[in-house]
Symmetry: C2
Subunit: 225 residues, 2 copies
Amino acid sequence: LIECRGLEKIYHMGEQVVHALDGVDLAIEDGEMLAIIGSSGSGKSTLMNILGCLDRPTAGSYMLDQHDVSRLPDDELARVRNRKIGFVFQQFNLLARSTALENVEVPLFYRGDAHPGDLARRSLERVGLANRMDHYPNQLSGGQRQRVAIARALVTEPSIILADEPTGNLDSVTTEEIMQLFLELHRQGVTLIIVTHEPNIAEYCERQIRIRDGKIVEDQRHGAP
Amino acid sequence: LIECRGLEKIYHMGEQVVHALDGVDLAIEDGEMLAIIGSSGSGKSTLMNILGCLDRPTAGSYMLDQHDVSRLPDDELARVRNRKIGFVFQQFNLLARSTALENVEVPLFYRGDAHPGDLARRSLERVGLANRMDHYPNQLSGGQRQRVAIARALVTEPSIILADEPTGNLDSVTTEEIMQLFLELHRQGVTLIIVTHEPNIAEYCERQIRIRDGKIVEDQRHGAP
Ligand SMILES: Nc1ncnc2c1ncn2[C@@H]1O[C@H](COP(=O)(O)OP(=O)(O)OP(=O)(O)O)[C@@H](O)[C@H]1O
Ligand SMILES: Nc1ncnc2c1ncn2[C@@H]1O[C@H](COP(=O)(O)OP(=O)(O)OP(=O)(O)O)[C@@H](O)[C@H]1O
Ligand SMILES: [Mg+2]
Ligand SMILES: [Mg+2]
């Protein structure tokens, strides 16, 4: 499904050069559930943004469903992204002037749905926010905002979900509920890529990849049944 | 040092009433290190904002260092806050158009320091960001932004530190470094109040308070040496 070769992301800061990604090769099968772990600043979000078609690498290739993503013009890239990928951002990226419900409707509007309200409402119910739909982001707790971001990523039922630290602001009970939701999607055939700092979240995933200084240093599969 | 009686925070959303805090009594001694735990939406950040003089309760009283904080006008409140309290926000609240270094200098400017650069630089070094001082927030990883927020909270050497989920975006090694930093401050007599979802972070604290639906439901001290 996903094939990356030699991915690099380089930033130039005056004299300084930052190698956020420094040669990443990665192949991901349809329907895999994989965890990406690594220390702060190691390159996880940078990799996720490229996988999610939100950013382009400085070098290297990215094949998604046999399309060379790097060849696509911006509007084409946006269409692939909206159709196939749901993205949970590390810092949520909600629209401040839209309610929780309106935020979750956005991806449905993009794909042309006439009546996004029902699907959006159900998505918010599944993350436990039935009674917060009309709240604006600044009227929500940190963990509630995180759950709105999750609901938004799931509402179009994408075949690939990229979740960048999706439970960082959640207590253990709510975290468990979200992981059960992800496992359910996995059982339905969705491909899940989860960045996490928490070993017990990584445990849920059949495969774990460790990133250090922009490179993959470990790639392990569990003895999954 | 801190004495809260009957704190309430009520929001009116059309017909709906949200009791973010629903009668909180809390006494905190000088030099205590305490953890606040509780599920998403239970009222932790609301309580922290009141303790940090960033918000006023709807009802109840808050005595800080024997001053009735609720009696103070806004500018007086701001002065108390800037002199005594360092606050690490759950979502960092960095200035987007200032570098990491400039962000950390802000509290020093407020107190009238002529040469904030040195103290700010040292504070960033202590959180491992010596080589990221000239980066803007959008050029930093999530965990790096969190550490800038921590460095900013510590730079004026406040006597009270309020940290709202300070390690949510950090890997275990970096988390350990930050907790060692907090323990060091604790040994120097600083009062620390840490909101956390992680039981192992709560373990570092000699006292743990659990909040549910805007009320304190547990208040335990460890057998601390
Ligand atoms: N401005 C507001 N208007 C209405 N409701 C609000 C407002 N701010 C917060 N709330 C509600 O108050 C409750 C407590 O919020 P708070 O941010 O204190 O939770 P929290 O314990 O910090 O949660 P988390 O662990 O998710 O950060 C939440 O249910 C939230 O929806
Ligand atoms: N626009 C940019 N300009 C310069 N450097 C950048 C930029 N964006 C990211 N970086 C740097 O690239 C490195 C990787 O960043 P990235 O956000 O991928 O880390 P991460 O693994 O997600 O970290 P965290 O766990 O803290 O979220 C970091 O050291 C960061 O400072
Ligand atoms: Mg990141
Ligand atoms: Mg909170």
